[in-house]
Symmetry: C2
Subunit: 300 residues, 2 copies
Amino acid sequence: MDDLTDFGTALVESELIYPTGVAGVSGRSQQYAAVARALHDLADQWGTELGATSIEFPPIVNRSTFARTNYIQSFPDLIGVVSVFTGDDRDHAELLRRSEAGKDWQDLLEPAEVFLASAACHPVYPMCTGSLPAGGRYFNVHSFCFRHEPSTDPARSQAFQMHELVFIGTPEEAQRHRDAGLEHGVSLLRQLGLDMTVVEANDPFFGRLGTAMANNQKDEILKLEGTTPIGSSDHPVAIISGNCHRDHFGEPFAITSADGATAHSACVAFGVDRITLALFWKHGLDVDKWPSEVAATLWP
Amino acid sequence: MDDLTDFGTALVESELIYPTGVAGVSGRSQQYAAVARALHDLADQWGTELGATSIEFPPIVNRSTFARTNYIQSFPDLIGVVSVFTGDDRDHAELLRRSEAGKDWQDLLEPAEVFLASAACHPVYPMCTGSLPAGGRYFNVHSFCFRHEPSTDPARSQAFQMHELVFIGTPEEAQRHRDAGLEHGVSLLRQLGLDMTVVEANDPFFGRLGTAMANNQKDEILKLEGTTPIGSSDHPVAIISGNCHRDHFGEPFAITSADGATAHSACVAFGVDRITLALFWKHGLDVDKWPSEVAATLWP
C-alpha cells in the first residue's frame, strides 16, 4: 500500500473513518477517536507542565474576534462564513419555495455572530487584551477547525482537530517558545515512532497580496513545520507547526507584555487528525498491533 | 445561589467556562471537559452493549443530507448556513473593501457543500439507504451541534455536544428503543444524582406550519424529555430526550427494514453540555467534592 487513494480506501474499508459524501468531511470510529484523544492528553500533559490555561473551544468563533485575526485578508478561500435565518413566516415560505426549485436563498439570511473556527487559538487573544503578567501567559487550547480545501487526500480534511500550545509575552519569550516548543513537540512525535523532518513552512497565502506575505514568512522563518509521510512514502505532510506570530495578534487585540510593549505571540500546533492518520499509516490499521512502546506513550 | 445569572457568573468566575463575547458560545475548562468526556464514555459503553456502530462526526454535515432531514422546514430559525469564498484577486479586494466599510459582502460568497450540524444523528441515515439487516441497526454517535438561539441562560448554548443512541428498523423495534432506551438513559442520569422528571416535549417548531407539527408531536407523544433543574430550582431543563422519528428519516433516505417496509427510527439523545452543567449545579463547582458514588459512576 503506497498510494494515497489506497490508504484512503483502506481507512474506509477498515471502518476507521466514515465518508459523509463531502470530500474531507468524515466521521471517526471509536478506535480512531481513542488515538486522537490520547494525543490531546499528551498535549494537555505538556500544557500542565507549562502552567497553561487549558480550554476546549467550540467549532465557531466570535465574528469580531475573527475579523481582527486578519484571516480573511490572508486566506479568504479557506474561511467558513456562517449565516442564520431571522425572517418571518412569509420569508420562510419564500426560502422553502426557492430551496425546492434549486434556487439561491442566501439573500434571505443574515450574517451570524460567528464564523467557523479557522484555528484553535483565535479566541484566546481577546481574553488577553490589556497588560500581561511578567513571564507572559501560556494557553493550551483545542477545537475543531474548518478550512475549505476539499480534497481526496485523506490527510486534508475540511473539518479537523487542532491542538495548540500558545504563548503570549515578550518577543524573546515568544521566539523561545516557538523554537523550544517545536523541538519538544517533534520529539514527542518521534517517540510515537514517526519519522519527522522539520522544514520551513510555505503557507498558501491568497492572491497577489499573499505573495508578499508568503515571502515574508519564508524570509523571516516565521513558521516551521514538522512533516511525516501519510498515505504514501513520497507524500510528506505537516503534522505539527511552530509559528512566530510577532505582533500579528498582540497589536489588533491591544495586548502588552509586562514591560508595556506590544506583546508577541507564538504557538506550537498539533494537527491531531493528521497525527492520528500518520500513526495508522506508519504502524498499521489495527491499533492492537502497534509497537508496545508507542501504545505505552499514548496510553501510559 | 438560586438564580440563572448567578450560576452563569459562578461558572465563569470559577473558570469552568470561558465566555467568547457571543451569547451561548463558550470555551470549556479541562475540568469541565473531563466531566463531558466521562459522559461520552458512559454513552459509548451503552453503545457497545447495544452492538452499535460508534462514530464521532465533525460539526458540519453534507448539504444534501441536511436538506433531506427537513430541518429547514421545521426549525429554519435555528440553522447555521455555511458559505465560502471562491473568487479571484479582484473579488477579494472588493470583499475587503466592503468588510472594512462595514458593508455586507454575503453576495460575494458561494453556498458551501455543508451546513452546521443541527443534530448528531443526521449523517447516519444516508449510510443506511437500502435494506437493513433483520433486527435493524444501532448507531452511537456524537458531535458538536449548532442552534441559533443566543441566550444568557448558561444551559442554552449555540454550540453544544450531543450524544445519541440511534436505532433504525421496524416501527415496533424503534418504539421499543425509544421507550426502553429513554428509561435506561434516565436511570443512568439518576445514578449521577440528578433529580429527573420525564415530560412530553414541546419543540419550538417554526411559524404557522410548525403549529401543526408541534400538535402532532404532542398528540402522538413522539418525543419525551428528561428534565432537571439547572441554575435555578424552578428552571427545569431537558438534558435527555427520547424521540420517535417514525418514517421521518426512513422515507427520504429510502431505508427499508428487513421485511421491505419503510424503516422507522428512534433516538435517545444526551445533551452532554447540559448534563455537565446540571452536575455542576447539583453537586457544586468543585468536582473533587462531588459525592463519591457520582465520581465512581463517571470514572469507574
